[in-house]
Amino acid sequence: MISEKEVQHIAKLARLYLKQKEIQKMGKELSLILDYFNLLKDVNVNNVEANSGSIDIQKNLSIKEVTREDSTIKGDSTKEIMKLIPEKENGFVKVKSIFGK
């Protein structure tokens, strides 16, 4: 069972604000889901390598095949990207102050 305190801790790590009602519901749901996921504990994984997803042909590609030459190319969407930024000044992205007053 995942406690409310644990839910609050995880929510903070995930940078998610949850209302009190959401915290209670989340604790119950995550507990149910993780209980089911305990199925994985029955599997013998001794000496099994972890797989991060890539299929063999990708693992065998050389660095040269997956990188391009280190040369400058013209970006074609700078203007569009700048338009999306909620708060900006002189071509810079504005953030909230990070150091306390």
Binding site: Y17, L30, I33, V45, K83, K96
Partner: protein, 477 residues
Amino acid sequence: MELLNLTIRQIHKKLLDKEISAVELTKVFLSQIDKIDKNINAFLNVFNDSAISQAKEIDKKISEKQEISILAGIPMALKDNILIKGEKCTAGSKILENYIAPYDATCVKKLKKAGAVFLGKTNLDEFAMGSSTENSAFKITHNPQDLSCVPGGSSGGSAAAVKANECVFALGSDTGGSIRQPASLCGVVGLKPTYGAVSRYGLIAFASSLDQIGPLTKNIEDAEIVFDFIKGKDEKDSTSVKLDSKKSNINLKNIKIGLPKEYFQEGINPEVEKTIKDFIKKIQEQGLNVEEISLPHTKHAIPCYFLISSCEASANLSRYDGIKYGKSNMKEKELNILDTYLKTRGQGFGDEVKRRIMLGTYALSSGYYDAYYLRAQKVRTLIKQDFENAFKKVDMILTPTSPFTAFKIGEKIEDALSMYLVDAFTVSTSLAGLPAISMPCGEVENLSVGLQIIGKNFKESEIFKMCTFFEKIITNN
């Protein structure tokens, strides 16, 4: 109107023979959307004006006798997590409600070059997380076969739009079944290509080691045509691979088909099972070799998939911080930086996305990483080995796509775990990276049953060849 049912090749011929113009054709589909989408809700955004101007350009090329591709003038739709420059792309989320894509996805670039006509963007579960399209922040899509049922998900809008003849074809994305399962529930064809076959550049990321873009179509030939246009190496996606363009010359009579016994056990609807088994009898009568195989880790695929995909999602979705783009609380002066993050994300994400972010963050957090994430990655290796062993004995694997036909709207949405179990037959192939297609092979009480055909890596052309044969058997009955 019979124009709505035509295949890509048939439309192409009519355009070249000047039996119909691209503008007329586009108008037929736009008016179909106008007429019926209020009942289906497949679309989030319809490009009435730009679709017509795209079609005009094709008509101009035809009248000037310029060469056009087979996709030129073909009206199609895009899942709303694939970027078209200058158009909104929401991923079905409030956090991207006003996001205007600053560039084209690679597959969009390729389709634009081919002259396809973009009719609009289709509905999806928020960030492609779900199996019913009920998790969209904007609307609920209805299954064209029965409006009280879900279309499946997460590419439910794309599958419904194809089924309801609101477009000739659509693109979707598949992370754990999000193309194949809605294809199965709506009665259309849906391909999840091999991981790496199609560039993911411009697809809004959910779980990067699993995501693939693929076509939803009305028949196998159309799926192959679209796939051939969107596949291939892209320097903007380092996992994309250059593919052999040779068509398969396999002799179907020499092909061995495996039926994994684990897919015909508890959990499957008996009528669905019977439909699939009847079809298998038919292909055996046609002389195909079918044998039982075992994929022993099948029951571990759901936890393995949901752990890995949620972990990846929790990292991928950290970019939605209210600072760079999307929904933002930056303008609220009294909020500090942490509160800005918390509030933007707390208000912007829906319940299922929050659940997955929490699940992923938990499984990656100190003290739980080894027990959950690392263990899931090891089980992923075992699932992949199951398939490698099976493919030593057989060339293709055949299963039901979904344990049941379309379920009712509202039936599962309150129970997260029961919704996760919906994907039982599609997640294994995603974890192994393998290509798989779903095609309709029968009906139970007027709702489609989908057949899943899984092939070896990058052997899409063998799958297409086999499915073309299957299609003939199904339509002749």
